[in-house]
């Protein structure tokens, strides 16, 4: 069978899909993470906390599918990235996984025993389950922008030479992590002001004001740092966009300001960082005007802008290597085969609409606010 789509085009499509899935994850599961990270602060009494938990209760598991889908897409479409990232960020991803495992247990165990200490313990476990993944995903993005210490040998085996977790927690990485925490907690707070009422909604709304301003400041700081202090990567010489996925066939150099080069070449790409700067402020304004539905859309656009900024700044790089720049993984030499990309494209075109449809259906069925009365009336069956 000859494949009707060019290899180059397929790689570009899968780069776009990678962005769609990451942004989908940030928007959909982002508010679950944000709500969990805010839980001990926006909700003080047991009933308040159950209101917050049941606001995400019917949807968080479905939303987590975006993470699995994203991981699966990286595994199938960008296997070299998957291998390098999962080995390189090994301990960090272990922490993410452990934190994410606390989430279902937190949800399911929490209300099984009526004991304040027991419930407080799980509330803090849920806090960790929201905070750690938010932070680590941001830290990982920051480290991607800085370059990751790996090399590739002649057998295409990847050797990660970094010293582990603490190396990832460098100042720029931490700043990127804070951007992520700020934007996801803000997103979670917007969701809570949409789905709850009473004191939880009030506290969530006032957090949105603080969180969205923090997001803009941190994001702008990271941008300035990126422009002035972080060396980007540039491919020098030829690279065959439809060539074999062997990252050792090109030359790459590090250059100050290289991560901004794309914006000079394609000014329309500036839309991403501008959206990331403007949308959080619009979110805060809409919350002030008591329009949480529109605020949720604005907040989603903010996440879109911020995540897309990382993607377009680095294009065509996906995972640059700081110790062997020429071994950097790019869109053109880290994908799976043309046939794999094509077959996956077809299945994605079939299944993504189905996922969107059932997700939409669930949100429709579960529309409306969660109230303290509902919790008390269904105390044994709700989270």
């Amino acid at each position: 069978m000859s494949i009707p789509v060019d290899y180059e085009i397929l790689r570009l499509i899968w780069w776009l899909f990678l962005g769609v899935l990451l942004i989908g994850f940030a928007i959909m599961d982002g508010f679950d993470l944000g709500v969990a990270a805010l839980l001990p602060f926006v909700a003080r009494t047991d009933v308040e906390r159950r209101v917050a938990l049941n606001a995400i209760g019917p949807v968080w598991e479905g939303n987590q599918v975006w993470l699995i889908l994203g991981g699966g897409a990286v595994f199938a479409a960008w296997p070299a990235i998957y291998a390098t990232a999962f080995s390189g960020f090994y301990i960090a991803l272990f922490l993410v996984l452990a934190a994410l495992i606390m989430r279902p247990t937190g949800f399911d165990f929490r209300n099984k025993i009526k004991d304040t200490r027991w419930r407080n313990f799980w509330d803090w476990a849920l806090f960790v389950s929201g905070l750690v993944p938010s932070l680590v995903f941001g830290v990982a993005c920051g480290n991607l922008l800085e370059g990751v210490p790996f090399r590739i040998d002649g057998d295409m085996r990847i050797f990660y030479e970094g010293s582990g977790l603490f190396e990832l927690l460098n100042p720029f990485g931490l700043l990127a992590g804070l951007v992520s925490v700020a934007m996801l907690t803000t997103h979670g707070a917007v969701y809570l002001s949409l789905k709850t009422e009473g004191p939880v909604q009030k506290r969530a709304s006032s957090y949105v004001r603080f969180g969205s301003v923090a997001t803009v400041i941190l994001f702008a700081l990271a941008g300035l740092w990126l422009a002035s202090g972080i060396q980007g990567y540039v491919i020098t010489g030829d690279i065959a966009a439809d060539g074999p996925s062997n990252p050792l066939l090109k030359e790459v150099v590090r250059q100050p300001g290289a991560w901004l080069a794309n914006y000079g070449r394609h000014p329309w790409m500036l839309a991403a960082p501008l959206l990331g700067l403007a949308a959080p402020l619009v979110t805060a304004g809409l919350i002030q005007l008591r329009k949480p539905g529109l605020a949720f859309i604005a907040s989603s656009l903010a996440l879109f802008g911020i995540v897309a900024t990382v993607g377009v700044s680095m294009f065509p790089f996906l995972m640059p290597s700081s110790i062997a720049p020429s071994a950097s993984l790019t869109v053109w030499d880290a994908s799976s085969s043309q046939r794999t990309l094509f077959v996956m494209l077809i299945s994605t075109l079939i299944f993504l609409p189905i996922i969107l449809a059932y997700t939409g259906f669930v949100f429709r069925v579960m529309r409306g606010r969660v109230s303290a009365e509902q919790i008390e009336a269904n105390s044994n069956s709700l989270y």
Partner: protein
């Protein structure tokens, strides 16, 4: 489910109704599931004989090729040193029927497969050399053609990387050693597979008995309830040994004939892997303890109390 329901019924006569229903549902599903496991197992047996001949030979402790139709070894004491079984009990024809669905296909034994592997390693070296040329010059048409015609055996050449940096420099003794590496541990495979199969048939027997009695509304047999209760961990055990057969039987390959395990693993330091392994064991064990304690609490509570007063009516007077 049958196990849990049995325990409830054994110890708490008060909620017999729920328990009986659970047993009926569980035995029907259990019977269907254990029967379908046989169908699936038969299917995998057939596909293993086609794609992973060495795994099949090792599971059956079949050192020498079996003339068609091959006999099934019921019991054996495999000896890897001599490449023979010290003692064996065989059922004629059976393996040939299961693995090849025919009476005229012979099955290759371990010793013959090793000889074959040696040939494939030598063939793979030609592919390895061609690949090297192609990497240096993408347009080398001759190397491309050579690679294409020998690509099937490229993975076998990679087995030599365990001993030498460049497989092309390997001597005859090293090649023979690499060929011998293609044999997984025979005795562990032989026995774990048999344990899995025995458990599989035991589940059918148990579930059929429970189902038969449940259909006749007979829940009185205490020994059967006890057997159900104590069978709780057995499906888990069957899964584990099945997993062992699948993965250990694949060695030394990650992808049979393509990618050796020692090349497929990541370059992580063992300390890191140990850390996460210990972390997961500790983490999951503590969650398991909490889980079991909660389950115990709710079992003791019974369905009425556990669901709350709102649902009381639904439990006591279920709609028929």
């Amino acid at each position: 489910m049958a196990g849990l329901a049995s325990s409830k019924e054994t110890y708490f006569q008060g909620v017999q109704f729920t328990a009986k229903r659970s047993i009926m549902v569980a035995s029907a599903f259990g019977l269907a599931a254990s029967l379908s496991a046989v169908v699936l197992g038969d299917e995998s047996g057939y596909s293993v004989s086609e794609h992973q001949k060495m795994k099949l030979a090792a599971i059956e402790a079949m050192w020498d090729s079996e003339p068609a139709p091959a006999a099934f070894t019921l019991f054996a004491l495999p000896d890897a040193q001599t490449g023979k079984n010290r003692f064996e009990v065989k059922i004629p024809w059976l393996l040939g029927l299961i693995a090849t669905r025919s009476v005229d296909t012979p099955l290759p034994g371990i010793n013959d497969l090793v000889v074959k592997a040696e040939g494939r390693i030598r063939n793979g070296l030609i592919a390895y050399d061609a690949l090297d040329h192609l990497r240096q010059n993408r347009n080398d048409a001759e190397a491309r053609a050579t690679l294409a015609s020998h690509a099937e055996d490229l993975g076998h050449a990679l087995l030599l990387k365990r001993y030498v940096e460049d497989p092309r420099t390997a001597d005859d003794a090293t090649i023979a050693k690499a060929a011998h590496d293609t044999v997984p541990g025979v005795a562990p495979l032989f026995w774990t597979f048999r344990l899995m199969a025995v458990l599989g048939f035991a589940f059918i027997l148990l579930m059929a008995t429970v189902f038969w009695k449940a259909c006749r509304r007979d829940f009185s047999s205490r020994w059967l309830l006890k057997v159900c209760l104590w069978s709780l961990p057995l499906p888990w055990l069957a899964c584990e040994v099945g997993w062992f057969v699948a993965e250990f039987g694949r060695q030394p390959w990650s992808i049979d004939g393509v990618l050796p395990t020692f090349l497929a693993s990541s370059s992580l330091a063992s300390g890191q892997v140990l850390f996460t392994l210990a972390g997961f064991v500790l983490f999951y064990s503590s969650l398991a303890v909490v889980d079991v304690l909660l389950m115990r609490k709710y079992v003791l509570m019974g369905p009425v109390k556990a669901l709350g007063l709102n649902n009381h009516a639904a439990v006591v007077a279920p709609a028929e």
